[in-house]
């Protein structure tokens, strides 16, 4: 029997859904609302701190997990929502959404690698 690729994308969807349910709201609050409005200490999210986070191996792993899994979760969900909207999609849409998530993940990994240790 030919193996399906569905479990791979479902696993990435599930992992991204779990991670975004756990840390998504608080990340949006920190980076998008609290820091821009100055509600947190002024050195929060400053250049030196984020650089230190992005240079640490565990920090790299966390940043990559957040961006890549959010993208795969969103890509999977949006792809299947097209069906709900009456759009019958094929290989092209799968390539677009999963390929987009893959490209974003690879770009994140590349940037994190280029930032160095």
């Amino acid at each position: 029997m030919r193996r399906s690729h569905a479990p791979v994308f479902w696993l990435l969807f599930g992992a991204g859904g779990m991670l975004s349910a756990l840390v998504g709201p608080v990340l949006v609050v920190i980076t998008g609302i609290a820091v821009p409005l100055g509600l947190l200490p002024p050195d929060a999210l400053d250049h030196a701190h984020l650089l230190a986070l992005a240079r640490h191996p565990l920090g790299k792993l966390a940043l990559l997990a957040v961006v890549a899994l959010f993208l795969f979760h969103a890509g999977h969900r949006l792809l299947h929502s097209l069906h709900d909207l009456g759009l019958h999609t094929g290989l092209g849409a799968r390539l677009l959404f999963y390929g987009g998530a893959t490209a974003g993940s690879l770009a994140t990994a590349g940037v994190l690698w280029a930032i160095g240790f």
Binding site: V28, T31, P36, L50, I115
Partner: protein, 133 residues
Amino acid sequence: MTRHRPATPPPTWRRPMAGWWRRHPAHRRYMLREASALFLAAYALVLLAGLVALLRGEAAYAAWRAMLATPWSVALHALALLFVGYHALTWFQVMPKTMPPLPVAPRHITNAGLLLSALLSLALLAAVWVAGA
């Protein structure tokens, strides 16, 4: 049998599917939840842009921070917070129903357990915050 079949089959009424999700509150909530993915993807791209800015140097990073501080950005993040928060709420509503039984009693995730986990996480955050200050 065939001689009783009408020459042209009578027209069958088909329920139109366009806009189906607008007809029922539960379906509207479902589509709102699915729309959270748009905001989640956009937010992931904002973070990726921040990492690219971090790589390009302090000036680029300052520009990314300045972009985040615009009123439009804060307003969109507030909207994204509503959608991502709704995703989180529905995720934890669905998760206990999709999980296999736990090896320990009470065999499934309870609301009290979820609440206790959230409170313990808050307590841990507070402890780390105080220790770091």
